[in-house]
Subunit: 542 residues, 2 copies
């Protein structure tokens, strides 16, 4: 009897948009799905009926291997289930303007989710970690099952599980559709770049961003930590870099801060790849080490003009300094990959400097500043290779013909992305794509669609070339964002990139994505991420 | 001796940008001013020296008339002084990358600001309120003086006073330049439109917006409270309008909410002008009153197609309903002005409806749907006039040749603003400008400059025509903003409009404005308004 009462008000996942009975000219509201995951799993089989999860009795049980990462995750996701239940109980039973409802039959209670990790935990996330999992919630038993070979797959599966939940209409009880999900990512590097040099971001905002990334199954935090404008990284070997180069002595990242961020990311299966961009983008280095930068000369007077350019490759102190700094970075950041930058090196200052010109003449560089840059990067790559790091460089380094060791990763950020991807992979290098996912490029309104339209594997290529695509990153450059606006600027726009990097569907439905993203943005809102409205008019219940 | 110590680290207001000693290619950081008000006052005379305000002893003293508004304001602004002092004491004495410093001589302590209101308080802010004031802080006595004829001028002067404060470098003590400010607004209607229909905004966000408006001397909250998408206004006479037309029963504004907002605004000298937009933009009315909307017909079958269009002017129930609703609105909102909308009426549904076509034929309207709209608006204007309201209408109403009573205000929002302003004022009507201040129009980065470039008085006109410009409004339409992103979307972009509406300078320096806005955005941040970075890389100390 009670079940029949429930049935009338249960809203189980649906992809059908049902119009309001009355509708005037403006376009329809995008109707949010209920209980559909973002990003879309590799394979979903829906079964008849739905289950009811009663938060007062529900448990996530560890039935296989375990470790600190798993135990922390069980706590986090149990808290999320509780949160979803409390939101559900705050919602009124019948909203006057509720939309599509697809009635389905009650199939049983879900008393637990049994989590079975097959292999012992790995300690740190890495490029080739296994993120696949199988999630099974159906009516045969009262226990759902989540199984994975690797802790990273378990993390992704727990995330998916919470996406399946929607309000049942019966107080705090939650409904979920019976289904079996077999999931694995399309690409292994699914990143977000944050720039903490143009504006400093407090630790709390970085941690919140890591939370949001985990809600989108992104697994690389590319930390563009320094740039021209400020040097907030507190080096233990060279503390003067941030003491003088940060915007303010309080606007720095201490070693403890960095460790906290790495640990927080590790618990979420997120790698932290720092970028110390050189030889350009280093103005802030000159606040403490002006000797490392190139003095620019006035062309008419032939005298130094008082400004400083990129790092000075002819300066004898440079490479010992770089070696020491990167050695420290290698210790601070456990991640094997490091991003070396190498983008947008301005040549005019180099060209104005007599010592540089003399050096180039002696080394037969024939006024090719690309060659000078290549030499610098070559030396830097040798240093990081000696330090056992694998390097990522922005595309200019490849374009300028630097001799790269085979494991170097080239990061494509501008120009014709299809031909760039084709050229880099034809040369046999691994590649990352960001050109289509620049979050600082704004348009009016719901511009996630342009990010969603980008398929990282769509370029003229062989199978072998496509296998060199490691993935990509959404880039949140910091010129005009800080703590006040960075989260709604990123989310849910970066979610579009996250889905294209995870999901295997090559021609996904944009209409269906819009409906799922409407749900996903509200989901992020409930969890404390101020994701902005993705589509247009609408509302979330918090 | 102590004074000399102080002098070395005091930063008093300056408009000079001093470059960093080293600078690479990227453009300079915009150096924030220190202690410069936004918007710029009518007349500022700077005197020699600066004063020190010691927060432990400083007081704002009421020496003239007083009332609840003034007493509340003294509390608020005392709290702001305390806040500024606590931020100053958290700042380190010497920031390594501090910028321009202009040393000045110590002129004395400021122990109090004596506030002398000459006339008894008015109860409610209104179109013609007097917002002028004289603020004098100088070295002759230990008391600064703020004097105004009207409570509204006192409010504006207190705001300005707090803008003059900057850190002294000596713990919590604050510095301010000796100066005399004579101030008054250029235009009397300086508004911000918030749209609470496309997305619901919680009361707390509206109150925060009113705070931010007061920090920018804006004095009209134009509340676009209903539209097609939802009807959150809880009517006492017709509770079904929001019960069925709100997004959700919890996403409404009760009578108590509305009163709280009006009272909060009153204390800040801000008028609350509601807009109930008709005859278009009324889809949400149809959730409870489908009879009031026009049934649209399918052209080929000649039968109703199940959708509803604008209000149906041929429906006998319409005008009695409108009269009752607006009578209630007139009681709920004490403001004499009301915004009636009248924009973007779609004619296709009217044209499809046989009863409407019949009515138009009988009334010799010759297929001119503009005439039908005009008739509706005419009737509505008669109703609001009977209710003693003065009406504001969007420009289409004027364009369509509706006979307007002389006090009606026309609101220009689209098209060639110069010719629109010229045409409306030539016809003798008061006008408001918003066409150049649409905050939903986004560009990459610091796009406040385009808003700042708009001079509301720059159109081909006589002096008499320009006197008909009441002011203007920045418009924050709600399609893609909600609680997650509305504040950084508005601020400090709307500050550009606020200055152009307040300040008399017709060709203000954009470079100087950028420096002052950099300071002002940080000032708003400190006060809890998440204003986004206006210019580019930089930082605020909170």
């Amino acid at each position: 009897m009670m079940f029949w009462t429930l049935l009338g008000i249960l809203c189980v996942s649906t992809s059908v948009v049902i119009s309001n009975p009355y509708r005037v000219n403006p376009g329809p509201l995008v109707t949010a799905t209920r209980g559909e995951p973002w990003p879309q799993p590799y394979q979903t089989t829906k079964h008849d009926g739905f289950l009811i999860l009663r938060p007062s009795v529900f448990q996530i049980l560890i039935t296989g291997e375990t470790c600190d990462i798993l135990e922390d995750a069980v706590q986090r996701y149990t808290a999320i289930v509780t949160l979803e239940a409390s939101v559900a109980s705050r919602e009124l039973r019948s909203a006057p303007r509720a939309h599509a409802r697809q009635y389905s039959s009650f199939a049983g209670n879900l008393a637990s989710l049994n989590v079975r990790l097959i292999n012992p935990c790995e300690d740190m996330p890495h490029l080739n970690m296994n993120e696949s999992y199988v999630l099974d919630v159906r009516n045969t038993t009262e226990a759902g099952s989540l199984m994975a070979k690797s802790i990273w797959g378990i993390l992704r599966g727990l995330e998916t599980f919470t996406h399946l939940l929607s309000r049942s209409g019966d107080g705090p009880n939650l409904a979920l559709k019976c289904q079996t999900i077999i999931d694995k990512p399309l690409l292994q590097h699914r990143g977000l770049l944050l720039d903490t040099s143009r504006h400093y971001l407090p630790i709390s905002d970085i941690l919140r961003t890591l939370d949001a990334m985990s809600y989108n199954k992104m697994n690389v935090f590319h930390w563009h930590i320094t740039d021209d404008q400020s040097f907030p990284y507190q080096s233990t070997r060279f503390p003067e870099l941030s003491a003088k180069g940060a915007f303010h002595p309080t606007l720095t990242y201490t070693r403890e801060n960095v460790q906290k961020i790495i640990e927080y990311a590790r618990y979420r299966g997120i790698r932290v790849i720092p970028e110390f961009d050189t030889p350009g983008h280093t103005r802030s280095w000159g606040e403490s080490h002006p000797d490392l930068l190139t003095p620019c000369y006035n062309d008419s007077t032939g005298a130094p003009d008082g400004t400083l350019g990129p790092l000075d490759p002819t300066e004898s102190k440079l490479y010992p300094f770089i070696r020491e700094l990167f050695a420290e970075i290698g210790v601070t950041f456990p991640e094997r990959y490091i991003h070396l930058g190498g983008d947008e090196v301005p040549f005019d200052c180099w060209a104005s400097n007599p010592r540089i010109r003399q050096y180039m003449h002696e080394h037969h560089m024939n006024d090719s500043y690309e060659q000078l840059e290549a030499e610098y990067i070559q030396n830097l790559l040798n240093i990081t290779r000696d330090l056992n790091m694998t390097s990522i460089v922005w595309q200019e380094v490849f374009d300028n013909g630097v001799h790269l060791s085979p494991e170097t990763v080239v990061h494509v950020w501008t120009g014709n992305q299809k031909s760039k991807l084709a050229a880099v992979t034809k040369a046999g290098f691994h590649v990352l794509l960001s050109a289509c996912w620049y979050l600082d490029h704004l348009q009016n309104g719901g511009d996630w669609r342009k990010f969603y339209a980008c398929d990282p594997l769509a370029f003229p290529s062989t199978v072998q070339q496509r296998e060199l695509v490691l993935g990509g990153e959404a880039c949140m450059w910091g010129e005009v964002v800080d703590s006040t606006n960075v989260h709604p600027r990123i989310w849910p726009r970066a979610s579009a990139a996250a889905e294209r990097l995870w999901s295997h569907e090559r021609n996904p439905s944009v209409i269906y994505a819009a409906q799922r993203l409407e749900e996903h943005a509200c989901r992020m809102n409930r969890r404390g991420i101020p994701a902005q409205p993705p589509n247009g008019p609408g509302f979330c219940i918090q």
